[in-house]
């Protein structure tokens, strides 16, 4: 027989008075104040909107409790090794850099004044919308896709969508979005084909996405397609500001700009044929439908009992699918958008009924008599114990749905991956030359929460590197402890690094890179990398002579003029 517990039989319960002796809220408050103060890790100040402060506070996150102490220890270590002449070891410099970044907000726009203004796009919460935005971007928002921060579905009124896209290094720099990605203990950087930031407000309050709902994002970017017809695939990541890392979400479907028809593949380019076959996969195997969440009556609207499943009222053809979706015990509540009607009509005798599902919550119920019809927009609602039962059934259905969804995602991903492999193999077999062609491509992916999403591919750090001995501008100003930004000529990524002594800069000698930082007076200091730096002594490092550009940075255009003067 086991002895896993110390079982106390009929032990006396303490009295209320005994317990109250231990209560001391003031001591708790004091302990809270004296405890190591957690810092704001990621304050996403994405849009300048009337609710900016609230959006920021909503995103408050705790950083690792020991970050402050680690930073102090690391700086002390740095001071010790500084006196020895050589650079600190790469591990020591990395510890200093990690401690530095741990104290920074994870999403850290370097210039608050340059943040873009938010222009809300109004969407009717009950109806959803398909938004066609600039540059061809499309957002497909389903019906009743939002919920309040209390988990209540928003079924009426407008929701303000705030949306922006980021496509190049300047965009990423302005947004302050980190582009490094740690996976299985290895650091990568993300080469982006397009990044989005999306959030929503309802009556001025931030809202979330309803469980089971997704917003489809379609955005364009240019992709380098090899002459053999192959191209890089892209994945979708969501920025987790709590874990301070990107989280892999899935692969994006890529559709090249030229439309393709699966039934007429002949004569199309390999890219368009693949595109068409992918579309055919999704048509043949559509995404599973989310279950309907049970809803309680609101008590103000007219509600009535009508069991369409018991056969007492004949049903018109075409009602079967809608009937099958009904939950047991549901009664009907008239929707506010239904046309006014005489409630006494509900007591009339009707010959038959027709039911049609209009949305996830709304049905059209037509009661048909000898010479008249009554058409109502209604929704099923559930009361009392039936609601509990329905809620339990819903919970189970969600689990089944999630399992089906996971299976569907795996199934379709496998099929699409197999298609891509086949086309890539065919392209390789042709052995065509390596010249590339830039093609416009539409990336399609679904998101299930608001925040920052990135359609990209992780790349390992470049093999060549040098270490920073010191950074100094033409005026003799040094930058020993701040964030620097490194971007290559493609501008698909940006790498944030610490300017401290001994920091390592990874770069490809064949490419041109720009390294820059903000000066204390709001200007940009920059330098172009030189291939020979890769041969520098790793113990001595490279003294970077940066050029501070004497131009005030007031907006994004100013940044572009400084970083891309041509």
């Amino acid at each position: 027989m086991g002895n896993n517990y110390n079982i106390k039989r009929n032990a006396p319960e303490p009295s209320q008075e005994d317990i109250q002796k231990f209560m001391d809220f003031d001591a708790l408050l004091e302990a809270h104040r004296n405890a190591e103060t957690p810092q704001e890790g990621a304050v996403i100040r994405m849009f300048t909107s009337p609710r900016e402060g609230q959006i920021g506070s909503r995103m408050r996150r705790w950083v690792v409790m020991g970050a402050g102490l680690a930073a102090a220890a690391a700086v002390a270590l740095l001071l010790i090794v500084r006196s020895l002449g050589d650079l600190p070891t790469p591990e020591q410099s990395l510890a200093v850099a990690d401690a530095y970044f741990a104290q920074q907000a994870y999403v850290n726009p370097p210039l608050a004044s340059v943040e873009p203004e938010g222009r809300p796009i109004k969407v009717n919460a009950a109806e959803g919308a398909t938004l066609d935005l600039d540059a061809g971007t499309r957002l497909v928002i389903p019906r009743t896709a939002f919920q309040t921060d209390r988990g209540q579905l928003i079924e009426s009124g407008d929701v303000d969508i705030y949306y922006r896209e980021m496509h190049d290094a300047v965009d990423f720099f302005v947004a302050g979005v980190p582009m490094t990605y740690d996976s299985a203990g290895t650091r990568h950087y993300l080469q982006s084909a397009g990044m989005i930031e999306i959030m929503a407000l309802h009556n001025g309050q931030p809202v979330g996405m309803a469980p089971g709902k997704t917003i489809r994002i379609e955005l364009f970017s240019n992709v380098a397609v090899q002459a053999d017809g192959s191209w890089p695939s892209f994945k979708v990541y969501h920025l987790d500001t709590v874990a301070r890392n990107w989280v892999f979400y899935g692969k994006s479907a890529m559709v090249f700009e030229a439309e393709a028809n699966a039934e007429h593949l002949e004569g199309l380019s390999p890219a368009d044929r693949l595109n068409a076959e992918k579309a055919a996969v999704l048509v043949a195997d559509p995404k599973p439908e989310a279950p309907m969440k049970p809803v309680k009556p609101d008590g103000k609207a007219v509600s009535f009992e009508l069991d369409l499943k018991d056969g007492s009222l004949p049903l018109e053809p075409g009602s079967e699918e809608a009937i099958a979706s009904l939950q047991k015990g549901a009664i009907w509540q008239v929707r506010p958008n239904s046309s006014p009607f005489n409630e006494n009509a509900l007591n009339l005798e009707w010959k038959s009924a027709r039911l049609k599902r209009m949305s996830e919550v709304e049905y059209e119920l037509t009661l048909i008599g000898e010479a008249n019809e009554l058409r109502l927009l209604v929704q099923p609602v559930i009361t009392g114990k039936d609601f509990e039962r329905a809620q339990n059934s819903y919970d189970e259905a969600v689990q089944v749905y999630e399992a089906k969804l996971a299976e569907w995602e795996k199934r379709t991903t496998d099929k699409i991956t197999a298609l891509e492999s086949r086309y890539n193999q065919e392209a390789n077999d042709k052995g065509t030359s390596a010249s590339t062609q830039t093609r416009k491509v539409r990336h399609i992916f679904d998101i299930n929460t608001f925040g920052i999403w990135n359609c990209d591919r992780p790349a390992p750090l470049a093999k060549s590197s040098f270490r920073i001995r010191m950074i100094e501008d033409q005026n003799g100003t040094r930058y020993p402890n701040q964030t620097a930004y490194l971007s290559d000529e493609n501008g698909q990524s940006i790498y944030q690094l610490h300017t401290g002594r001994g920091s390592t800069v990874y770069f490809d000698q064949k490419k041109g890179y720009l390294l820059w930082m903000m000066t204390p007076d709001g200007k940009i200091a920059l330098v172009k990398t030189k291939a020979e730096w890769a041969q520098s002594n790793p113990k001595k490092g490279v003294k970077l002579k940066v050029q501070t550009i004497d131009r005030a940075i007031r907006n994004e255009a100013d940044i572009r003029r400084v970083l891309n003067p041509n």
């Binding site: 079982i7 039989r9 009929n10 231990f22 001591a27 408050l29 405890a35 709590v242």
Partner: protein, 206 residues
Amino acid sequence: MFANLQISRTLAKNEWMDRSAKTVSESALHQEWEEIRAAQGNPALFRPLYERYYESVFRLIHRRTSDMELSGDLCSQVFLKALQKINTYTFQGVPFSAWLFRIAVNEVSQHFRQQQNNRVVSVNDLHLHDLIDDIGTDPEEMELLRRKMLGALENLKGDDMQLIEMRFFEQRSFKEIADILGMTENNAKVKVHRILERLKRRLSGG
């Protein structure tokens, strides 16, 4: 055949989540959410929540420690952690108490893990009787059954004991258990049912 339609305007009144005394109404949840938001902005405004739940958290801990001083210490830790983490709390339709109880259960588990001691399970004979009744074993001399049951309980895994303890010895609803342990109500019911089946087999010598 004609349908029998009946208008009803009064179906949606009294929308309580659960009529048991240990759960709260939606309006109370709403009011509490406002208090939590206030405390998120100013820790001093955490006081009403502290005063409302101190005793129930203390009792939960005491039943698992049987030590007043230790319960006081752990209770302080629970509320300190709650205050430190309150900015991460988001409303998901679950009472704030469930969140506090979850922290408390974890705090107790962590304490006994560190001390490498067996944790206390407080069992009242009356509740033990309920448990035996629920299992529905053959009638036997009650004291013998109680001792057998205590022996069977000794073998339960930690998670299973939490469920039996909350359901029978603390008389919590499945909804509340589900909220505290972060599972669905249905899952809690199924798990308890399975544990009872196992206990029954053990009691009958199977």
